[in-house]
């Protein structure tokens, strides 16, 4: 079951610019280790859900998983063999805007090796290159 919002202001929205780098949500904030996107994409609710299931299956109820992205962008798609025009199509799926640097998942309460293996499995479910990171330095 893919994630989607409960309430929205508008049914459909514009595509908007995608090629920007993350300026927020780009560091480990809740857990001890995180999975960071190195590329941008529209990550679908199904992909996020697949990642969550992969993490939960590997961790077997150890630790806590934090999902840092949420699919709140409606993506519409015209049916096959449909002529162009006649208005914007219906919403096909919901996606999260992922920019290079966005923290996707975080894990707390498990050793680094376990977190690393779990995140490697999660990363396989995603359409972008990812890397495993820890908490950053602070002043």
């Amino acid at each position: 079951m893919a994630l989607m919002p409960k309430r929205v202001k508008f049914r459909k929205e514009f595509r908007r610019v995608r090629d920007r780098k993350a300026t927020k949500g780009n560091y480990v904030a809740y857990g001890e280790f995180g999975l960071q996107a190195l590329e941008g994409c529209w990550m679908t609710g199904r992909q996020i859900e697949a990642g969550r299931i992969a993490a939960q299956h590997y961790l077997k109820r150890q630790g806590k998983v934090f999902i840092r992205v949420f699919p709140n962008k409606p993506i519409s798609k015209k049916p096959l063999e449909q002529r162009m025009g006649k208005g914007k199509a219906d919403v096909e799926y919901w996606a999260a805007r992922v920019k290079p640097g966005t923290m996707l998942f975080e894990i707390a309460g498990v050793p680094e090796e376990v977190a690393r293996n779990a995140m490697a499995r999660v990363a396989r479910k995603f359409p972008v290159k990812c890397r495993f990171v820890g908490r950053r330095l602070s002043a």
Binding site: M1, A2, L3, M4, P5, K6, R7, V8, K9, F10, R11, K21, A22, T23, N26, Y27, Y30, Q36, L38, G45, I53, Q56, R61, Q62, G63, K64, I67, F70, V91, P100, G101, M103, A108, G109, V133, R135, R136, L137, S138, A139
Partner: protein, 218 residues
């Protein structure tokens, strides 16, 4: 805390993003030094060495400015990161005296095994890893050791409950949860404010409802 290390810095003749980028490419870390009513000083230091100091928890340094004999003590005030959030691209250093009162963040080091971790599915989560305190520079510790052996489920450790060393005053809000033992729930929970495709076919559209009401009034 006394300054343990000398931070060797060179004056930056030219400033701006272009020259800062070139300095980084050459293995240097651009820094700025300010405070005590003096003019800000733009300097650069060895990137690897600086990061090694910061990672080991060093915050206070004796400044060794190349070509000048004036001794200064500086405190690490701020770090700037690139878009990936992990690579340090710039740091702020503030001039301090050892008897000056400053506000700083001090790392928390948790010791002991929490009592509540013996329950099945219990994990220790800590939303903050450092505490905002006020003290004299000479009293600034490298870290604060927090004993969590008595921590149980349902009784979070708050910032005001942490025993601080002498001379330190808490500046963070007292009711901030520092650490807590939580029991993880079943795996199939969804995020708050979210629904799944199977439950409701489409989300509720707020503006659409208002339009309908408006039409009825007309």
């Amino acid at each position: 805390m006394q300054a343990k290390h000398k931070l060797e810095v060179q004056r930056r003749e030219r400033t701006g993003s272009r020259y800062a980028r070139r300095a980084r490419a050459a293995g240097r870390l651009p820094c700025v030094i300010y405070g005590h009513g003096q003019e800000p000083l733009h300097v650069e230091t060895d990137h690897k060495q600086a990061i090694r100091y910061f990672e080991s928890g060093e915050r206070l340094f004796d400044l060794a400015l190349q070509g000048e004999s004036k001794a200064e003590t500086v405190l690490l005030k701020d770090l700037q990161f690139d878009y990936l959030g992990n690579n340090v691209v710039h740091c702020d250093l503030v001039r301090v005296d050892l008897d000056e009162v400053v506000e700083a963040n001090v790392h928390l080091h948790f010791v002991g095994e929490a009592k509540g971790l013996k329950h099945a599915g219990a994990i220790l989560t800590h939303s903050i890893t450092e505490l905002h305190v006020e003290c004299k520079v000479r009293h600034l510790p490298e870290e604060i050791r927090v004993d969590i052996s008595g921590l149980d489920t349902g009784h979070p450790l708050l910032a005001r409950d942490i025993p601080l060393p002498d001379g330190l005053e808490l500046k963070a809000e007292g009711d901030v949860v520092v650490a807590q033992v939580t029991v993880t729930k079943a795996a199939d929970e969804t995020a708050e404010g979210a629904t799944t495709e199977g439950e409701g076919s489409e989300p509720e559209v707020i503006t659409a409802k208002k339009e309908e009401e408006g039409e009825k009034k007309d």
